[in-house]
Symmetry: C2
Subunit: 431 residues, 2 copies
């Protein structure tokens, strides 16, 4: 199956005005630098990287710049030597300089690589989670670029982690029956007034949610007031997570978490700058000790690549690994991170929200449970209520749990009418 | 002085075909995403970020996306509150997602911020080094965003590091007499055959160079053969530096440096992935021990921002700090890194080469010596022979030493005819 064209679309949703997605550092118009890889057969693969609005055109330009590594190849060729394919994008001798393996150019790699995997899953008639979960261990390991992570995990160790334990069918039955656990971030954006937070929290609790995340990183007096309000609504047993979106310095994070400890947070997410491995390690030591192990450090949504995740785990800097499906270089690199998380015993709770991120990451968590993590303990997929209506195969969440996707592919194919409506700058929504 | 327009140019030089700039991971057409900030007065500020060819249009698009934070402002406004200005670019609530503070979007920030400083230096009639070196300590400290680095350095510590020690005039006299030490990388690109390396080494030695850098990271048998050849030409006392351009894994770097120890390397640059702080620390421990402290670890040319540099220093991962003028967010962020290097006692040897990087960084090293590092011991600016003829105020290097730039500005203003000739894709050089 030959890829003959890459069609790139700049798709943006005007979410900033409503305060949705507002946190200590972002106020975004949720957007997708979206690509469809078309084949002679008529089947196409879809992928995107998520952005926050302005600059989505830069991500689109980066996808265009990389697309010559994809167009003209066959699916068979690509999957016969997946690491060579992956490196043709991530280690292009000229484009690599723009990262390396980080920021716009790496996000564009993620969009294209995910589109290739989507195409394969569609061609095989399987949802992505099933394509991955039914793949022989050798093929999964051969899909991973171990360059720069062999000091943390080797291909031999990866094979062992993926070995059949006889429990696959049972785990699959659990997911088919119960769905995959999740938590909601739709209650506590910084842009919402207190009363809206209270109403949303109450509604979410009534809908069955027992784990909720709020944004922190404003004035600490506001943070603790809102935290008490949410804790009041959800009672002592439900989980309350906090997300600082990197706004604090290291010492500030430690001091603020001492104040917020009063409401018994389950995790603090992005307590400081995303690149600060040593800083996260210092915060983790302090927060773990202060809470006698009840409060964890979580990060990953803007961790640039497998080398940052490697160090976060080597340094005991995180107790929750928040992979993102399209910040790193797509499925191949996500696999390397899932393997390291399994080796280091760090539960994976993917970053979602934005637009299409829930659609993406549900597949990754399901695969992780079936083949690597093998436990639901401490595993949750983030849930945000926005923008699912624009996808051909949107998520289904019932009583706070993701139902297994059944349609072929990676679930991120936009409806044509949504592309048209929200194309920037010429779609009707933006004119 | 009001900035009324930002003119962006995609300027590329066809260097890849000649093997110039070829190393273990790059093979580039040296390029600049170049911006001129025009004012009503007719004076303009010039800045650029360096890229490796393909993708330069992405960096240009990022400069365009950020330029609305600059156009319409006055120089006086910007320098009245430099951190607020700097954050308007580095922490734009939508564009930050594309980094954060890394890759294309941060390189674009560097281009624009440098252009603003160039404009100021031209307006005051001073070369950049003099503008900085004559600035009161308070103003320098007020130009630095300490966000996310206060666990390594505080404004109060920065003020102390910048305090007058009475030796300024003497240091300036040394530079005026002798120039600033440098080393050359023009001898040992991987793309050059052995005989070319031998001839270039011999010629460089004859021109007065006593410090030379070779590229490594090919087959180790090639690396050691070329290293012996260069050592043979330069004798036992001259310095031989090695640059692996990130190609090795951590354990591989340690093993290969055990082989290369035979030729007594002065430093190993980028032994592994640029983001791998812990990996660099492991290599540094091994290499320092193996060489009894003679061989250092150097890195920085693709270190994304001050947070990465902070950690490299906190973890004792580098003994040579290789700032780049336009990979990080321009002069303001470079100042933060120079301050940390001074505090941690790490000598600064800037990354140069490419196109225009020598022009930029000479100013930074001169300032560092005059106000912070205050020693020439172990300090060298990289020198590469290419492409200086395209600048209005090119570097002058005599007997292996940079002479002090005298013209106003940051020395990176392209000649109009070079912009025209090498504009991509429509300039005569590319048609």
């Amino acid at each position: 199956m030959k890829i003959i064209d890459a069609k790139v679309h700049d798709v943006r949703f005007p979410t900033a005005a409503a305060g949705d997605g507002s946190d200590a550092i972002n106020r975004g118009d949720y957007s997708a630098a979206y690509v469809e890889l078309h084949t002679e057969s008529g089947l196409f693969g879809a992928g995107f990287t998520f952005t926050n609005g302005r600059g989505n055109e830069i991500a689109c330009a980066a996808i265009e710049a990389l697309s010559h590594h994809v167009v003209g190849r066959t699916l068979e060729e690509i999957f016969a030597d997946p690491v060579t394919f992956w490196r043709s994008l991530s280690a292009d001798v000229q484009l690599r300089w723009l990262g390396p393996e980080k920021g716009v150019i790496h996000m564009a790699t993620g969009a294209l690589v995910n589109a290739v995997w989507d195409l394969r899953a569609k061609a095989e008639g399987k949802p992505m989670w099933r394509l991955l979960a039914e793949m022989p261990a050798e093929e999964l390991v051969n899909s991973v670029d171990f360059h720069h992570i062999t000091d943390a995990i080797t291909p031999a160790e990866a094979l062992e982690l993926l070995a059949d334990d006889g429990g696959y069918a049972e785990r699959l039955a659990v997911l088919e029956r119960d769905g995959f656990p999740s938590y909601t971030t739709s209650v506590g954006w910084l842009g919402y007034p207190d009363e809206q937070v209270r109403e949303l929290t109450r509604a979410a609790y009534a809908q069955g949610w027992r784990a909720m995340k709020m944004k922190v990183g404003g004035p600490i007096s506001d943070d603790i007031r809102r935290a008490r309000l949410i804790r009041e609504e959800i009672g002592p047993d439900a989980l309350l997570m906090m997300d600082a979106n990197q706004v604090w310095d290291v010492d500030e994070a430690i001091a603020n978490m001492a104040v917020l400890a009063e409401v018994n947070p389950y995790w603090i997410e992005e307590p400081t700058h995303a690149d600060d491995v040593l800083g996260h390690a210092a915060v983790a030591r302090a927060v773990n000790q202060l809470s006698e192990g009840r409060c964890r450090v979580a990060t990953g949504e803007v961790a640039a690549n497998r080398v940052i995740f490697k160090q976060l785990m080597q340094a005991d800097a995180i107790q929750v690994c928040q992979i993102d499906a399209c910040r790193v270089g797509g499925v191949n690199e996500v696999l390397s991170i899932l393997l390291m998380a399994a080796k280091f015993g760090v539960p994976v709770c993917p970053h979602a929200g934005g637009v299409g991120l829930c659609e993406y990451v549900q597949h990754l968590s399901i695969f992780d449970y079936l083949r690597l993590g093998r436990s639901l303990d401490g595993r949750m997929v983030e849930y945000v209520a926005h923008l699912h209506e624009h996808f051909e195969d949107p998520i289904t969440v019932v009583e706070g749990r993701y139902r297994l996707p059944a349609k072929p592919g990676y679930s991120v194919t936009f409806k044509p009418e949504s592309i048209e409506q929200f194309s920037f700058p010429d779609g009707p929504a933006w004119r």
